[in-house]
Amino acid sequence: MKASAFSYARASSVVDALELLARHGDQAKVLSGGQSLMPALNLRLSAPELLVDIGAIDELRGISVASGVLRIGALTRHVDVLKSAEIAKHAPLLTEAIAHVAHPAIRNRGTFGGSLAHADPASELPACVLALDAVILVRSKDGERRIQAADFFTGIYETLLASDELLVAVEIPVAKPNAVHFFHEYARRKGDYAIVGLAASGILSGDVLTDLRLGYFAVGDKPMLATATEHLTGRPVTASMLADAQAALDAELDPQEDQQASVGMRRYLARQLMARCVSALLERPDLETKALA
């Protein structure tokens, strides 16, 4: 199990990387942390002609906060996100979620941008950026595009990122004082990809939720922002509202069958997660108990 032969170029800057991508297009692959790409190369599931290693581009690294926006450089490693005080303060959902991403040795190499660009529908971070209403910054020789997270993911391992573009950073509005979040995934073993997962954020005023964003993952070919939230926001949630929301969720889900779960099981677990989430955000255990009864 050895990778096919490829050429390798270490980009010295974003400009350099974009030059290489412009020149080699579809024949090239961007090597960031490599934690998804390398297994694919070793298994010969992917055989690019050229790897453009962006690992040495320091300008792509780092976490900063300015004007109410949290910016995470594409090359920021999972471990750096996990340990960041800024993230814990301004996007605590990420702190919680990232602990579920694989294992320490993987988190020491895997990058935030790499995970988004890879767009595995079962991975945590794409759903998180949906829930956090993030903007994804991509650059090509022709300039920079700002893509709403909700538009970015287009299918299994597919995004709006063109072959000559580089994901450079993610911008997330900093959490408001009354923001709440929820993260849970059902995975067979610690660190495994989820069978079904949910990353959620919202605003809690008294006993009313607003701006509720439910980012589901492993429920289809891409992470999904549930629209069923309309049943849950703007007024105190009742058991019947939750049931309506679950029914609406069911209608918008299009899950796939795999070795871990049937379509029905995914729908079932997604409904469960909704109940758990709403109940946790509102600190209303009764809702969960009723929903699961």
Binding site: M1, K2, A3, S4, A5, P39, L43, R44, Y186, R188, R189, K190, G191, D192, Y193, I195, Q259, Q260, A261, S262, G264, M265, Y268, L269, Q272, L292
Partner: protein
């Protein structure tokens, strides 16, 4: 004056001052392994060595119409591309049958497929290149024309008339069938107050040794000798088979086994691709190395289990178990594995069901069928987890039906501890087992009553905990009854040679092998104890057919019980020989002397008379000073094989405490207990860790592990990410206790312990899950117990 033996009445050769027996001492080989200084076959490099990569069939069943290797041969670094037909000129095919498994049939299997590939992953050509990467590049350029054939994948329909026959010459897809009818089964069921039936389903799984299979074959045409470096559990078996099929004399083959990165039965076999590697070395006259990659491991390391078994139990209201009956089917792939065959597991299931219990009414049928999937064969606990899951599952179902506690029904039916020797309805002979003592100890260890109370309390809060119990018996120390009587040249005896070297140190050569169980340690412990020599002065050599006595190796929980006894007997002879020399030097009587702490001492009083290094100096360098005509023999060899009992049965009982989330189907293991009786315990820590490791492999089977094939015979999860094995995060702590009933067949008294953990782990998890789900009136008799299985059983999805 008393001689030594009279002074210590009742003590054996092992009950000596500073004996290591029964003591936890660290294994001598650990530091090497911990420092990264082990030497595994995958680490080895030889001059002129080339790498073999096998091109493998992408189809489960296909005719090979044409192989075009032209482009591949022209690629950089490529030394040769060899097809099955070319290789068949240097290696003959084999048929995996044993004569004592009456009716077992199989088809000739080639090292590399010639006309037809019979499972996805069967090698159809070999590419030999200067590096693995270059060989893989070239393998992609070998063009094979296949004609896909209809694959036989479902074992339930493999015998149907409209299912294609995989090997036309065999007439049908039935490899083996065994029927057993003991006692008066029909009457017993008629007399029962309740008869409970269930269908038990066992997923196919595999060993996942962390080091994949690896072989380095070195044909030296100057010596006309083949040296095989192989991570194997049975070097002499490999020597025999390699010679047989390569047309060599056994003396022309040396098998060397260095460090082995996990075996568990996976490496007790010799695989077609390994045989091909040996043949390639002979063909190309240079060292050839093959290391399976992980995908190849999943596709070609033997699989195991894969049984569907209809079973029933008859029980009276007072808890008396009246009868067991099973009807088992298992799919073994397209060939019976060579040389141990793929019928052994099913045969074991028939042998072992009902084994711990008194009832003599037992009917069984098993059918072993061919299919176009990877071969199955012996893997840790052969047949035990299946027999135990069926038996213990039925016992719990019966208990539940009559409203009896699972402990109580076992107390009423387990063979009494004073009933031995006795036999089972399937003809097994039991020398001495301790089911009741073990169960009593388990109940105390786990604080059973308190757990039941806690369980009831938590259930009121909607928390569903389950407690599962499972008694088991384990086959260990197999005699020739296992393979030898069936015509296989797989030795059931082991030999140990012990010698005192010129510096007073001890060198011990043993035919058992080490894959981490502690063979090296237990041998040194026994030899050191018997000789009165400290362990650090004992060096153990294993795993080399040129340099060890002939023997079976390490499998079927036989290393300690058989190899250990050979070591004991050899050390006894050497001890006597040393004392004879000492008596000659000291002009004393041998009976007045003893060896303690590396020196000959007065048996009476312990006063030191001569150090062993001084004795050795005299023997080797100044024999002229010894009495005329006296010839010292400072090397002794002894062999051992059990003769009275075909197998030394052990027994034990396990328990699992777990929690099931009925909302999600997830199972959380909380605690696991084992009480086990392996007779004399040489090193408690080694035994406990064998048990724990075995348990976790059983837990893997219970919850995670499964080779998932689709209807076309494609293995769909042949990678580490999709084939789930237990990781540390989900595994519980495991408490281990012991009862000791030594076998009287050997002076050592040791029975095996390597498979006890695996035997009952899945059974007790299943029982615990059913216990947890009892308020929902749900019974699951299928493993792995995935969330999907649990949710489906609960009717939630």
């Amino acid at each position: 004056m008393n001689d030594g033996s009279e002074k210590q009445p009742g003590l054996s050769v092992l009950d000596r001052p500073n004996s290591y027996i029964g003591k936890t001492v660290p294994r001598p080989n650990l530091d090497r392994l911990m420092q990264g200084r082990g030497q595994y076959v995958s680490d080895m490099v030889l001059p002129r060595m080339a790498h073999a990569v096998f091109l493998r069939s992408p189809y489960a069943h296909a005719k090979i119409l044409n192989i075009d290797e032209t482009a591949a041969k022209a690629m950089p670094g490529v030394i040769a591309v060899v097809t099955g037909a070319e290789l068949a000129k240097v290696i003959t095919p084999w048929v995996g049958v044993l004569s004592h498994l009456k009716g077992l049939k199989s088809a000739p299997q080639h090292a590399i497929a010639i006309d037809r590939a019979c499972w996805q992953g069967e090698a159809v050509a070999a590419v030999i290149a200067t590096s693995r990467a270059l060989a893989e590049d070239a393998a992609e350029a070998v063009l094979v024309d296949y004609e896909e054939l209809v694959p036989v994948t479902d074992m339930r329909t493999a015998l149907d008339p409209d299912t294609p026959v995989i090997h036309a010459d065999l007439g049908d897809n039935l490899a083996f069938e065994r029927n057993l009818d003991a006692g008066a089964v029909d009457q017993a069921f008629k007399d029962s107050d309740e008869v409970v039936e269930a269908e038990f389903v066992f997923g196919r799984h595999t060993g996942v040794t962390l080091e994949p299979r690896a072989v380095l074959a070195d044909w030296n045409s100057g010596e006309e000798r083949l040296t095989v470096y192989l991570g194997t559990q049975a070097p002499h078996m490999v020597q025999n088979i390699a010679a047989l099929h390569l047309g060599l004399d056994e003396a022309q083959v040396r098998v060397v086994c260095k460090d082995v990165g996990g075996s568990f039965g996976i490496k007790v076999h010799i695989y077609a691709d390994e045989m091909a590697t040996l043949a390639l070395s002979k063909l190309l006259r240079r060292p050839i190395k093959f290391v399976a990659d992980r995908v190849e491991s999943f596709n070609t390391d033997i699989h195991a289990r894969d049984h569907v078994c209809k079973a029933r139990i008859g029980v009276s209201k007072d808890g008396t178990i009246n009868a067991f009956e099973i009807d088992d089917v298992t799919g073994i792939g397209p060939y019976s594995m060579y040389p141990r065959t793929s019928a052994i597991e099913a045969n074991q299931v028939v042998n072992l069901v009902g084994g711990p219990y008194t009832t003599q009414n037992y009917r069984a049928r098993t059918r072993v069928v061919f299919q176009n999937k990877n071969v199955t064969c012996q893997y840790r606990g052969v047949g035990h987890p299946i027999a135990c899951s069926i038996t213990e599952g039925l016992v719990d179902l019966a208990a539940q039906r009559i409203g009896m506690d699972p402990i109580e029904i076992r107390r009423r039916n387990l063979i009494r501890d004073d009933a031995y020797p006795c036999g089972s309805p399937s003809g097994l002979k039991f020398e001495a087992l301790s089911h009741h003592a073990s169960l009593d100890k388990l109940v105390a260890m786990m604080n059973y009553d308190a757990l039941r109370a806690e369980q009831a309390e938590l259930r009121k809060q909607g928390i569903y905990r389950g407690i599962g119990i499972g008694s088991f018996i384990e086959v260990t120390n197999p005699s020739a009854a296992f393979y030898g009587v069936g015509g296989a040249r797989i030795s059931s005896q082991d030999g140990v040679a012990v010698r005192l070297d010129a510096t007073g140190r001890v060198i011990c050569q043993t035919s058992i092998t080490e894959q981490g169980q502690g063979s090296e340690s237990l041998t040194a412990q026994i030899v050191g104890s018997v000789l009165g020599v400290s362990m650090e002065r004992v060096r153990v050599i294993l795993g080399d057919t040129d340099n060890t006595p002939y023997g079976g190796g390490t499998w079927a929980s036989r290393g300690a019980g058989i190899g250990g006894e050979a070591a004991l007997q050899a050390a006894k002879v050497l001890r006597k020989n040393i004392l004879d020399v000492a008596a000659a030097i000291l002009q004393a009587k041998p009976g007045d002397l003893d060896i303690v702490d590396n020196a000959v001492v007065d048996a009476d009083g312990g006063q030191q008379r001569i150090e062993l290094h001084e004795l050795a100096r005299i023997v080797y360098f100044r024999p002229d000073t010894l009495p005329p005509g006296f010839q010292p023999e400072l090397m002794a060899t002894r062999h051992f094989v059990p003769r009275e009992y075909p197998f030394a049965f052990t027994n034990g009982v396990q328990a699992s405490l777990l929690e099931v989330d009925p909302q999600t189907g997830f199972i959380k293991l909380l605690r696991h207990w084992v009480v086990e009786d392996c007779g004399t315990i040489i090193n408690p820590q080694l035994v406990d860790e064998q048990i724990r490791g075995g348990v976790v492999q059983g837990l893997g089977a219970a919850l995670y592990e499964q080779c998932i094939y689709d209807e076309r015979g494609q293995l769909t999860n042949a990678n580490m990410a999709d084939y789930l094995v237990p990781m540390s995060g989900e595994m519980p702590d495991i408490d281990v206790g012991h009862v000791v009933s030594p076998t009287l067949e050997s002076e050592l008294g040791a029975k095996g312990a390597g498979e006890a953990g695996t035997a009952a782990a899945a059974a007790v998890v299943s029982n615990a899950v059913n216990d947890a789900l009892s308020p929902f009136n749900v019974t699951i008799t299928e493993i792995p117990l995935t969330p999907r299985v649990v949710l489906a059983a609960l009717g939630r999805i």
